[in-house]
Amino acid sequence: MAEYTPSELMVIVAARELKDKESVLVGVGIPNLAANLAMRLQAPHLNLVYESGAVGSNPTRMPLSIGDPCLVTGAKSVCSMYEQFAYYLQGGRIDVGFLGGAQIDKYGNINSTVIGSYKTPKVRLPGSGGACDIASNVKKIIVITPHEKRRFVEKVDFRTSPGFLDGKQSWKGLKLQGGGPYAVITDLCTMKFDESTGEMTLVSLHPGVTLEKVQENTPWKLKTSEKIEQTPAPTEKELTVVRALDPDRTYLG
């Protein structure tokens, strides 16, 4: 079996979640690799929309920022910042959005604002950017994150982007048009969210990973699905394509 890095694994598992003809709001780094990988495999008509207003980009190199000029030259369309958020995101035109963050809790609430208190921060993080807007408006939120105990927490210090709050009932009260958190993909496993309660639930263990290892790195008693799947290992094809997308290994590690 082929060797691969944790980042390669996460990119590949995330790419498999994307269906042909879906519209994906793409960030730089891992999500960009996942979307471009999916496009070259099962989802040739994936519609890539970037936060910077570019649509249907055709980059000739790895984009190094969300507003890289290579995302504009040869794109299908480009619009202003307010227009991107208004016509595409608020317009309900996006199927899948990727989010990351410093902390995530069992209902998929995400903190990318501050560690400690807001007024007297221990560590000040960059803040929402478009994250809260994406969480509120896309049909499926996919979170990609290393599976570390400091990232998976009982309660986030600051709720930058709403997940299911403290459960699906209270989330329904927000009347957001988005579908909320859909999957959390780590280097250890894939978790989805319970249909009725909105609680994060282990559904698939990545190759060679045990349930115990996942639980060790999750500070609450992690719910598991009735039947836990085994994530299929990355194929040669998946690895070849993803490596060609990031030849300098800027994001693949």
């Binding site: 730089v28 780094g29 936060e51 910077s52 207003g53 570019a54 190094l64 920022s65 969300i66 507003g67 890289d68 000029p69 504009v72 030259t73 040869g74 480009v78 619009c79 202003s80 910042m81 307010y82 958020f85 208004a86 995101l89 608020q90 604002t113 807001y118 921060p121 000040r124 993080l125 960059p126 803040g127 929402s128 950017g129 478009g130 994250a131 809260c132 807007d133 509120s136 408006n137 600051f158 709720r159 930058t160 982007s161 709403p162 709050l165 989330w171 927000l174 009347k175 957001l176 048009q177």
Partner: protein, 305 residues
């Protein structure tokens, strides 16, 4: 027609940027007017409220130089690299001076600017609900939608005192063609009370009039026009020069301490008189590396009837 708007960056900043004002240096990754920020630093402006969705390196530098009293923003990171260390130092340790912050989502902040540009009383939007942001920002309010009875989040218009907007080309009056990522360029120009346009090239009015749909900013909202090639370096100008990603990564090291930051500032900001001198300090190799190959748009005919 010479409208008398053409001037140097030094004149434009001296005439239009005042202490304690609210400033918007526009550009979402693209065409950030670094040369204007540096001139503001050289002219030692104080007490500014700096507004930008992405403060980026330019505001990090202005904060380190002590120009800022407050930052209004939605993403305070070094895009693709990590933290803005000067911003954090001011916020976490009060170095060189404490700053206030006022924080939104990207949609919220770009919405405030759009509402300012179009003079809306307020802007309803589908975001903020469920986030802790509104509880920490009194400007984000809710209102009852009379059509559905639902609670809706709203933000107020943003009207900066002064906006600086960099463009690829404009005429002497400031009619500006912009392409690539158009970010908040138009909204900043319409929202602000005073507008400085900085441009890579001055072209004749006939070039502008050959493609009116490309003119995002009309002359009559513009107060000053500054011809300033390479104004946006280390950010980029689509079709003119690429982003200097190397510098964005170096900034992380440069800003590890306030002292090392100020050493950079002494050399590259205080140590030069203007952008021309700044560019002379860059190596030819660097400049050549940033130059793109030409890649032209297919023309359209407007027809003459």
């Amino acid at each position: 027609m010479d409208s008398g708007k053409m001037m140097t960056m030094k004149e434009a900043v001296s005439r239009y940027v005042k202490d304690d004002e609210t400033v918007y240096l526009a550009g979402f990754t693209h065409m950030i007017p670094f040369a204007a920020g540096h001139e503001i630093i050289r002219q030692k402006r104080k007490g500014l409220t700096l507004c930008r969705a992405t403060p980026d390196i330019i505001y990090d530098q202005m904060i380190a130089a002590g120009c800022a009293k407050k930052v209004v923003f939605s993403y305070a990171g070094n895009p693709g690299v990590g933290s803005l260390r000067c911003f954090r130092r001011a916020l976490e340790k009060g170095v060189p001076n404490p700053i206030e912050i006022e924080e939104y989502t990207h949609f919220g902040l770009s919405g405030r600017l759009f509402a300012g540009a179009t003079n809306m009383p307020f802007l309803p939007m589908r975001t903020n609900a469920g986030s802790d942001l509104p509880a920490n920002n009194d400007s984000i309010k809710t209102i009852k939608d009379p059509y559905t009875g639902d609670e809706v989040s709203i933000v107020p218009p943003l009207r900066p005192d002064i906006a600086v907007v960099h463009v690829q080309r404009c005429d002497e009056n400031g009619n500006a063609h912009i392409w690539g990522i158009t970010g908040e360029q138009k909204d900043a120009a319409f929202a602000a009370k005073k507008v400085i346009i900085t441009t890579e090239e001055i072209v004749s009015e006939s070039v502008i009039r050959s493609d009116p749909n490309r003119t995002l900013i009309p002359d009559f909202v513009v107060h000053a026009v500054v011809q300033e090639p390479w104004c946006a370096h280390p950010s980029y100008t689509q079709g003119y020069y690429d982003r200097d990603n190397e510098f964005y990564m170096q900034w992380d090291d440069i800003t590890k301490e306030h002292e090392s930051t100020m050493k950079y500032m002494d050399e590259w900001v205080y140590g030069v008189e203007n952008r021309e001198q700044y560019m002379k300090k860059l190596s030819a190799e660097k400049v050549i590396k940033l130059l793109p190959k030409a890649c032209y748009s297919q023309p359209v005919s407007y027809g003459s009837v």
